[in-house]
Subunit: 205 residues, 2 copies
Amino acid sequence: MAKDTKEKILMTALDLFSKKGYEGTNIRELSASLGLVKSGVYKHYESKEAIWNALLDRMINYYGERFGSVEHLPPVPDSLEEFVSMTMQMVRFTIHDEQIVKMRKVLTLEQYRDERARDLATKHFLTGLTEMFTRIFSDMMAKDLLKRDDPAMLAFAYATPISALIHLCDREPEKTEEAIAQVEAFSRHFIKTYGKDLSSATEGP
Amino acid sequence: MAKDTKEKILMTALDLFSKKGYEGTNIRELSASLGLVKSGVYKHYESKEAIWNALLDRMINYYGERFGSVEHLPPVPDSLEEFVSMTMQMVRFTIHDEQIVKMRKVLTLEQYRDERARDLATKHFLTGLTEMFTRIFSDMMAKDLLKRDDPAMLAFAYATPISALIHLCDREPEKTEEAIAQVEAFSRHFIKTYGKDLSSATEGP
DNA sequence: AATTGTAGTGAACGAAAGATCACTTGTCAA
DNA sequence: TTGACAAGTGATCTTTCGTTCACTACAATT
């Protein structure tokens, strides 16, 4: 079916682009990976660049749905321990989901060449994560799980070290276990610094 | 002179590779940027890949000298304010030095393709910075400028947000001023959290 | 002054790239 | 059953790539 092939082309392109970059990937190899002859691709996309643009559209869309929408916001944790495990769950997912790994790699490789990739990279790697944690931290402060502080600053201080470890896993997958352990250690250190001990939550003037 | 041209080839290659990547750069453009004809390059390097390898050697060397040697370690600050300004000075330098910006971009673009680039990227973006701050924080704790804590963990928590902002500047240079301001805000927040107020430094049991 | 080595030239080559086109096959609607 | 259209094929085109080579110009060595 047509839709099927078009879809497969995008997924194969994502795979190849994430490994060798846009320039490093050629149509022949893309076609061969799909089990068709080189010209076959042109029945579905008019050019290599058209494939790239469709893939970027797809990624922008995917990001908006997956990370930008309200229903996909993680629930605000009820305890600091739950906050740690929520973090770990998010990190494990984003490190092991092949599609997302490939998306990050493609954005990394094309960020200086393509403006839309650049914008999505900043969102994906920095601002998106930070905004998400800003909301979570605001709520956690309201719930007296965190000390009162600037939630955006805490979110930035929390999101970027985790992001750095995710990038490390993308770059050196053999260090994944080590990196995950470091995320957990960092998360626990973070709540030790900024978290409010529950036993003191009932303190009052 | 021969040495001159060889050097210029490397610098031009760094420039082009950092903008369009290794695959996206061709010898004709490289030669033209140098004011010679395409075949001229082959008098100095036997192939495009040889240029790449020489450039990587150079970068590895440069990194080792500039960031790996003892004499280039920043002096341990005598006050928290001095620590902030040392941070700002480092960040301003690394963001504005064109060579270093290009080095980071090249490492970013080639990290999945070339093992040596991958290793240097991890060193440059993560472990090197963290180790440097680990030493600084150890000394600052000994000097009673910082609360006693795990210096490596603090270094990681300090280095990675700054690294994230440096990457942002590489990606979107128009946000440089904003990013620098955020580095300073982060640095001040950090010392507010982990720094020891000097007035309490003379406290005793 | 003669020689030799080297930086740079310009034409050319073969391979590989993106893309086109006439053609075959298969599916579904009329 | 037939006609039409979409999916896939294979040969082919053009461009661009990395690279080679015979050649020139010039600087340093003998």
